[in-house]
Symmetry: C3
Subunit: 347 residues, 3 copies
């Protein structure tokens, strides 16, 4: 059996990914699996401390974990500071290669005559490709996608299916766009005039770097004047909304249901939680972490972790505290008055 | 006229659905309608106390209501503890049967040769059905849907249109999936490596029980290792996001715009309001109610109602209270100091 | 060169749009552009004070701004109280006319025989048009749209692509619907019965007035009994959710990710920020402004600006304040007790 195909020996996985081996090098690993309850023959991982208790009961054959968790572990283990990364490598090794559709275009696809389609591109059923679109080598366009005129998809980029790519949108290499994503719809701009709202033409486009991931039903609007830009390695989860003119730096990650209003600039390597709302015209520095459901109304100019929001409590407790909040400023003034009164008495 | 077709007599509706009749049994009811302003000939319902005032002005022929509201009611009535349920039954009785498309597949549909399609299945225009898909008796696949390879839809399940069902997703019987829903997109998992983010293969799938409702533009991600699972009778409203590995118990209902982060386990019969954000890796017990816009960052291990969030106030009031919140911990310390000072003085 | 085609002279733009000219009337303007860094030959605008500093460095040929900003401006300028509106007019003047598809239907479109399609209508690839649909003059139906039976689109209405319009939905003239929008899915209504949830038939429809904008992946549910109604000039951004039976008044604007629960009535000319959650069965008066991420749980019966939410702070500050919030009612009681104690001592 060649080392290049599963199963793999535990010792070989240790060597390949630079882990410390704690257990029999000859142990055969047939796949990856969950820690709990654990499937015999598979390797699991422990990255989140709250699952540590499962180490004792897991039926997995081996586990990837941190040095500090190794002492507790009775299972054969691969020890590494970043077990999630090692798991990612091992899972990729074992993952069945996705059945890649044949190059060519489905009989039902509608492709403009003047679109430029590389030979290795695969275009699925019911796809619409507009005029002057460019699809580079290895591009996959899944069923039901629409790619409007002049859009340009870099090598190896995948539209999974039912994605809508607006006119002139540019994507780099190996981007991955999930179903229902809409990239390049008009930004939301209206000026109030005497006869009601006047629509502002949205003249910019959207430019995605390489290896950008766009989640299901996520929307990225085209710029009003300049482009909306996402740098290389940006990862957006599902149902994220990116307003017009937003710029997002390299390797920033945004979790589901988060919205970024127009013209905000977000730095590189930020970690933005789910259901966060970020106002418009703000600047978020590099290396900022924003925890889930935060409300960001001011620029965050320094790296660090920022938060807001109050966690759910039993309804009656919440009612009382929320009622008190409605008088919080009064309370503060009252305390100030009392303190001044005391100081006066004492003085 | 047979009792099986409209109009129905009020007395018959009372008998059929176990209500107390307050009014003429021979009153003919031609349909359902709203309480306000009320349409002659129709039966309305009153379930929400804030509409009680409309009882006096309604032009409806009759109304379904609770015993405690009957005294106030001058209209003929059906009295029951759960008027909304009775209304649901009556409305269903009167609802025009949805025009059911003929069995068969539209000429434009693209169906893989090795898909298994029951004879009574109806497949609409511009549908894509992948390899090894199974569509059981009575399945309806509306226009523009994509069902990827190996997915399996149980008897009577309906995809209304433009739904995306990923590879290997399994749905039970009589599920109802609204347009734009994306079931089985990749979960959001990336490990940070020295060269940027490494995508974690999402090896699990999505399994829906029977009679699951999935709202428009709702997304349910496939599991990372194990499956994402929704039990029988789960109802999701529009624009709900369900992360990978989430499990949701029987008959739990989730209102619109709510997000559930990965690996969270939600019990049975929960009622989760709209715009709620539920963090990852949590456990929510059976019979938990969470009110709208709550932020859930800890497990809720006991049945009951949980809430967070502060209601909107006039902007100036809010500004002052929010400013005070930014110093809330100081305020608390100040009060403690003052109390200790007082105790000291008194002691 | 005719005055009807670009470039335009600055003096002519001033005349045409009623601005005060500050600079050479003969200056040739070739297009619109951003203020920063500014592109030679273009006209920019300054409406948001936070960009005022760019006036000094901009390379734009001219700028539209308010009287109070004119003193600081060394560039040729058009002065007006509403520079954003003037910019909208000028940008529209310069915007390349969108390439309008030819009237007719694409070979792949599926159009019911008894649909009524005006001669100037354009129907793109992979569109499905149901029975008895009415498409008035000038309607554009972009690629992949589904328009279900009996829906009616007024003159000049545009479905950009991949929009889903449910049965019987009515739209006025010149509506603009972006990709992924779902108009007329079932409202979310279930009654709890002894055997689980019973679906309430959603018998109403959706009625949109003229010039309604519906953003990408926005959802508008059909009414349960009566219709869901959006008046003329309503503008919805992306990923907005409108529940069943909601009514929204003329020219109200709702920013992205906002949800409105069922049966709520919103007045005219409201400005509703992004990520706002508005509960069900409420009334919002005309001319109400709600700032982003507010939670609205009570009716807002008077014009004015309403807000809630706490802005993100450094994580440690937030932790302390959020912990204090959990005891806010106790704190308030403590302060009351102390005050009473003091009054007692003093009394």
């Amino acid at each position: 059996m060649s080392a290049a195909a599963p199963p793999y020996l535990l010792g070989e996985l240790a060597r390949r990914f630079g882990c410390t081996l704690a257990g029999p090098a000859q142990l055969s690993i047939e796949g990856v699996g969950a820690l709990h309850p654990g499937q015999p023959g598979t390797i699991a991982f422990l990255a989140n401390g709250r699952y540590r208790r499962h180490l004792h009961s897991s039926r997995a054959a081996a586990v990837v974990l941190r040095p500090e968790d190794a002492a507790e572990c009775r299972l054969p283990a691969l020890i590494h500071d970043n077990p999630y990364l090692i798991y990612a490598h091992i899972a990729t090794l074992f993952a069945p290669p996705a059945p890649r559709p044949e190059p060519g275009r489905h009989a039902t696809a509608s492709v403009a005559r003047d679109a430029w389609v590389a030979p290795s591109v695969s275009i699925a059923a019911h796809v619409t490709i507009g005029s002057e679109v460019v699809l580079a080598e290895g591009v996959l366009v899944g069923p039901g996608c629409v790619v409007e005129r002049g859009a340009c998809l870099g090598e190896g980029t995948v539209l999974v299916g039912m994605c809508h790519v607006g006119a002139g949108v540019t994507m780099g290499k190996r981007c991955h766009v999930h179903p229902g994503a809409v990239i390049g719809a008009d930004g939301f701009g209206f000026a109030r005039g005497p006869q009601g709202w006047l629509k502002i033409p949205q003249l910019g486009s959207v430019v995605l770097g390489d290896e950008v991931e766009v989640g299901a039903n996520t929307t990225i609007d085209r710029g009003a004047i300049d482009n909306t830009e996402l740098a290389d390695g940006v990862k957006l989860d599902n149902q994220v909304q990116i307003g017009h003119n937003v710029r997002i730096g390299k390797d920033t990650v945004i979790a589901g249901c988060t919205g970024v209003a127009g013209s905000t600039i977000i730095g590189a390597r930020c970690l933005i939680g789910g259901a966060v709302a970020i106002g418009g015209h703000l600047e978020i520095a590099d290396d900022v972490t924003i925890t889930g459901m935060s409300m960001v109304t001011h620029s965050l100019r320094h790296p660090g972790t920022y938060s807001s929001g109050i966690a759910a409590a039993p309804n009656q407790v919440w009612r009382r505290n929320a009622a008190a909040f409605a008088h919080l400023d009064e309370l503060r003034r009252e305390v100030r008055r009392m303190r001044r009164g005391r100081l006066h008495e004492q003085g």
